[in-house]
């Protein structure tokens, strides 16, 4: 009896989980489906689900009208560059916080996180003016630096948590063995923290890839990323849902694929230290 109740409960849980999962996934699915419809079918009432004339027309038009590869390259450059720069700064920072903490370390960590509580638009004006003065408006370099700074607190926090899991004895052993600080970080700490560093990199790549506030406000034709590419389809000529959807699908595809192949790593990284 108990077993059948258990199974029934299990089934209900499964159904609930799938429903929530599909609800969350639905907008993405709808975007992808819409991208294969004609503009007319896209705004059809009632909405068409699977039975419409599948077409690749939107993709062809989007590709013709805007240079997808340029936006893609900008996204890769900015997301990749800001992540790389962030990691280079965050590894030594997290090292010092995890292994030579001072009385103020906790305060610094909290202060760093508190900067994430500020709405981005609050500092739009000074940053915008700063970019103009420095001639960095619509430049990839400016975005690499700004996105790096925005995500730095999260990178430092994540690395700090991973580093804390590494036994001190091992680092001390390397010191006894004659490793300098730099060699200790390169030969001992980093290889041991690779799962953590990898998931930090992945998460940061995703965050930087999807960032749209700064990329939309600080770029125009030259340094625009895929978020700007999507946005360019949303307004000026009225609403063209099918083309907008095609552009969106093209923009999210690379990061979706990356996320799909690295989901094991991501989950492992995000739950690192939760058990054990």
């Amino acid at each position: 009896m108990a077993r059948s109740v258990k199974n029934q409960q299990k089934m209900i849980n499964t159904v609930i989980a799938w429903t929530i999962g599909l609800l969350i996934f639905f907008p993405v699915l709808w975007t992808v489906l819409t991208s294969f419809k004609t503009e007319g079918q896209a705004i059809n009432d009632p909405p068409l689900f699977l039975f419409f004339d599948w077409t690749l027309e939107n993709y062809a038009i989007v590709q013709e009208r805007s240079d997808y590869m340029k936006f893609l390259w900008n996204s890769i450059f900015i997301a990749g560059g800001s992540t790389l720069l962030g990691i280079l700064i965050a590894v030594p920072a997290a090292w010092s916080m995890a292994f030579v903490p001072t009385k103020r370390t906790k305060d610094i960590l909290l202060w760093m996180l508190s900067t994430k509580m500020l709405p981005a638009v609050g500092v739009l004006y000074p940053i915008y003016i700063g970019c103009i003065k420095l001639g960095l408006l619509d430049s990839r370099l400016a975005l690499v630096i700004i996105l790096m700074l925005i995500n730095l607190p999260i990178i430092v926090w994540m690395l700090y948590t991973y580093f804390r899991e590494i036994p001190r004895d091992i680092l001390e052993a390397s010191r006894m063995d004659g490793a300098s600080l730099w060699k200790e970080i390169v030969y001992v700490l980093t290889p041991m923290a690779i799962p953590g560093i990898a998931s930090t990199i992945l998460l940061n790549l995703i965050l930087a890839w999807n960032e749209s506030f700064w990329t939309l406000n600080l770029t125009a034709a030259k340094a625009g990323t895929l978020t700007a590419f999507i946005a360019s389809y949303s307004s000026p000529e009225g609403l063209f849902f099918a083309k907008l959807s095609a552009a969106s699908t093209m923009a999210i595809a690379p990061i979706l694929i990356l996320g799909w192949f690295s989901q094991k790593q991501l989950v492992r990284g995000l739950t690192f230290g939760a058990v054990k």
């Binding site: 036994p167 004895d169 091992i170 001390e172 052993a173 390397s174 010191r175 006894m176 063995d177 004659g178 490793a179 060699k183 030969y187 001992v188 290889p191 041991m192 690779i194």
Partner: protein, 333 residues
Amino acid sequence: MGFIELKQVTKNFGDHQVIKPLDLEIKDGEFTVFVGPSGCGKSTLLRLIAGLEDLTSGSIQIDGREASQDAPAKRGLAMVFQSYALYPHMSVYKNIAFPLKMAGLDRNAIDDKVRKAAEVLNLNDYLERKPAQLSGGQRQRVAIGRAIVREPSAFLFDEPLSNLDAALRVGMRLEISELHKRLNTTMIYVTHDQVEAMTMADRIVVMNHGVIEQVGTPLDLYRNPKNLFVAGFIGSPKMNFITGPWAHAQGAQTVGIRPEHISLTPEQSEWKGVIKMAESLGSDTFLHIQDSGVAETLTIRADGEKSFARGQEVFLQPKRDNLHLFNDQGERQ
């Protein structure tokens, strides 16, 4: 060479002084064991010598050279940690080679030394394995191998055997002692296990509350403990302590007597008591005696061949020549 001298060494953690001003000389080639209950400062003292902790005051000299400010690697010492502290991402070979690589040796010299160390420690078959694929004893051997290849002036062991099971511990104890004989290098060994201290040490340093209570050879400490703490800490089972009128009659505040120095007699003698518990170890039986009138419980060592029953009345005779007399300060008289 491995002559280590500590002068007026202290260590504070915040306001708490964990090592009180302390002097100690460790002679070249000597096997010295720091022993004491947990929290007595023995591991901290070892870490101060290693350079993993900074001194609060005082100085440490290694082979006559001031080393207090030197980085750990500069001191020419090697350390074996309780947790082994092997590099989990490196093979056994790379673990042992790591200090040599850091020292900038060329590949052939490294290979030569690693293989020699592996041979000595019976690790040849495991060189390509990762630490996770080894047993506890093998891991400890790798940790020792990593220490040996550096040819340090002294080895520091921080409770190296406490993660091993009892049988393995005895084996490794012998291996480390043999290693000491073969290398003839200074070794400092920290343990809370007084059996390890007694069996391995040339000299034992007994510590308590950040203070050295006594320094001496194992038998010296066993036979002539300087105070009640050392008397109680060294020896298993513990020394019996007798206070009250019987002790006063001997002219002392406390009289200590070891379990083997109280004999069972067939007829009425100085003490009598009732067996509360008999622990048979085979070769010996330890009897815990109640109602003796001199101490709440007396432990005595009896012949393992004889059988004893709980509640049985026995007669006891302390050996007068083996009494340890302590004054009201707990110091030996």
